[in-house]
Amino acid sequence: MTVDLPPAPAQLDTPARPRRIPPAVLLIAPSIVFMALLLGWPVIQGVLQAFRSDDGFTLEFVTRMVQDPYFWPAVRNTLLLIAVMIPLQFAFAITMALLLRSNPRLDKVHFFVWAIPLALSDLAAGLVWLSIFNDRGYLNSVLASLGIDTIPWLAYDNPTTLFLCVLVAEVWRSTSLVLVIVVSGLQGIPKDYDEAAQVFGAGFWQRLRHVTLPLLKPSLQVALILRTILAFQTFAVAQALTGQNFPLVVGETYRWYTGLQNPNVAAALALVILVASMLISIFYLRALRDKGQEGTR
């Protein structure tokens, strides 16, 4: 067989090159090592911790996590918060981005002010809102000065206002992230598309629905994934405002780890968040995939 094949000239002329590691591998090696040490290893450790006791594999910690009276309320609260907060945030962020796009006076200042919460630590934000919603906080002071009965916003037996307070604080704190992503996405869309739609008779809502939002889809997808994953991790604001009165999954993780000194159950809870985040990302990626543009990229 080999006789029929023409000899490869390169192999005749040059001696066999010594096997080398491709430069690409060398280039990404530092980040691979870095990621493996700082992300991969802890993840593996965490997963193992949730399932391993001194006697080997066990579901004991998972069982303990599920049977804890705070677990299901925490899951329910987290999901409820996500379900209400994410649509609200996107409505706000898109509205604000569209307002900014219409080049109002001082648009840079507006954008800067709206982006401030991004720079704030979430615990600080929680404390700020605590000073507002507190029984003797700013909000109640205003109400009292207007002659309206004050409301114990953060009372443990008032789950609706507890939820509302956490919701308002979280929306305030984290909408700016969505805003920044949506604004940068809008800036990436040439104005011509919107102008063409205007000339061809499309009104504001028609343009939003048929032109702007579809073209914004990649940015919205990124923002959705980021925001939802981060919403699963909502913690400090709720902790500052409500303590354990409005339990969330990450708050429970924290309580098991520091309060109850049980890292194994805490690891199991963290695993719940990891799995939920992965599932939701896969869901978004599939749901928002542009069927039309497949194969062209």
Partner: protein, 360 residues
């Protein structure tokens, strides 16, 4: 279909000090194809965008078909437009793109389908209706943009340098196709371009713009033959018109170009002893290697064969001009040739104001 009346339009962009359009007035007859021609920054696109409603003027008015549309939003003006960047929606198929305007107007589906098919047929887009713009070539995307504009039954069709992103050959082919399509449609059309050959070949009328004003408005051949000022003559034509400094003799009979004496046309009688600028197109200068009466001597500097002609750069009395010689003409740099200016094709401009001279 409708006529357009633009009166005293003034626009200054925020932050700018110069007027983008400076008191522009223009009447466009129903069904006319008007080309706005000018170098970049002359205000032609601004004028078009104010027609479309994408920019609002600081002063003046725009009326279409007798209706004042100056401050109407774009979607209420019943216009359609072809954009320089095509602006074909990348996320939707060709079929949807062409029918976009009709769908926004909530036309019945059969009507949309029928018109889309018609336009696709006209622009040879039939096989591509179910493709996405990303799967089309630049020329095809351009066709989609034109198809989207012509299905609209708009009062006015606006085109903003629609051919400038196509390669030279495609541009030439599509230009004549576009002319036929628009002529058959009969829609009033305003077309913006910086390409003078496009303007001359497409327009019923050409408005040459400079610094926010219309420098000349007229039939394409008039604009070419008799530029209203030196700017228009220098902008239109390839090569641009030659301008030669000259003087009229005391009795007004003789035109002096350096030491050379030419017979002055009767127009110059009233400009005796004045400094003037002689404007003449390269193809209106006859060349010869032999001297005959009335000829002006020149020295060849550069010889550029163009195929259909030979472009010569010639020095005449210390001034450099371009001359178009027949392809059979043979000469070499540094040789002496003789030029004849045909009296009918000579234009004269005031040496100070650069405006065309008219008999007075």
């Amino acid at each position: 279909m409708a006529d357009i009346t633009i009166s005293h339009l003034v626009k200054t962009y925020p932050g700018g000090t110069e007027r983008a359009t400076d008191d522009v007035s223009l009447d466009i007859k129903d069904g006319d194809f008007t080309v706005l021609l000018g170098p970049s920054g002359c205000g032609k696109t601004t004028l078009l965008r104010m027609l479309a409603g994408l920019e609002l003027p600081d002063g003046g008015s725009v009326a279409v078909g007798g209706r004042d549309v100056t401050y109407l939003p774009p979607n209420k003006r019943n216009m359609s437009m072809v954009f320089q960047s095509y602006a074909v929606f990348p996320h939707r198929k060709v079929r949807y793109n062409i029918g976009f305007g009709l769908a926004m107007a909530k036309k019945p589906k059969e009507e949309i389908d029928r018109k889309v098919e018609w336009a696709a047929d006209l622009l040879q887009l039939g096989p591509y209706l179910d493709r996405l713009p990303a799967q089309l070539s630049g020329g095809q995307r351009q066709r989609v943009a034109v198809a989207r504009a012509i299905v609209m039954d708009a009062d006015v069709l606006l085109m903003d340098e629609p051919l400038s992103n196509l390669d030279a050959l495609l541009r030439l082919n599509f230009r004549s196709e576009l002319k036929k399509i628009v002529k058959d449609l009969g829609t009033t059309t305003v077309y913006v371009t910086h390409d003078q050959s496009e303007a001359l070949s497409l327009g019923d009328r050409v408005a040459v713009m400079r610094k926010g004003r219309i420098a000349q408005l007229g039939d394409p051949l008039d604009v070419y033959d008799a530029p209203a000022d030196r700017f228009v003559g220098g902008f239109i034509g390839s090569p641009p018109m030659n301008f030669i400094n000259a003087a009229v003799s005391g009795d007004g009979d003789v035109l002096l170009v350096g030491d050379q004496r030419l017979r002055a046309p009767s127009l110059l009688r009233s400009f005796s002893s004045a400094d003037v600028v002689l404007g003449v197109r390269a193809e209106n200068v006859a060349v010869d290697t032999q001297r005959s009466s009335g000829d002006v001597p020149g020295t060849v500097l550069v010889v550029e064969p163009m195929g259909s002609s030979i472009l010569l750069t010639v020095e005449v009395e210390g001034q450099t001009i371009k001359v178009q010689a027949p392809p059979t003409f043979r000469t070499t740099p540094d040789s002496r040739i003789w030029l004849t200016f045909s009296p009918n094709s000579m234009r004269f401009y005031d040496s100070e104001t650069a405006m065309a001279l008219v008999a007075r």
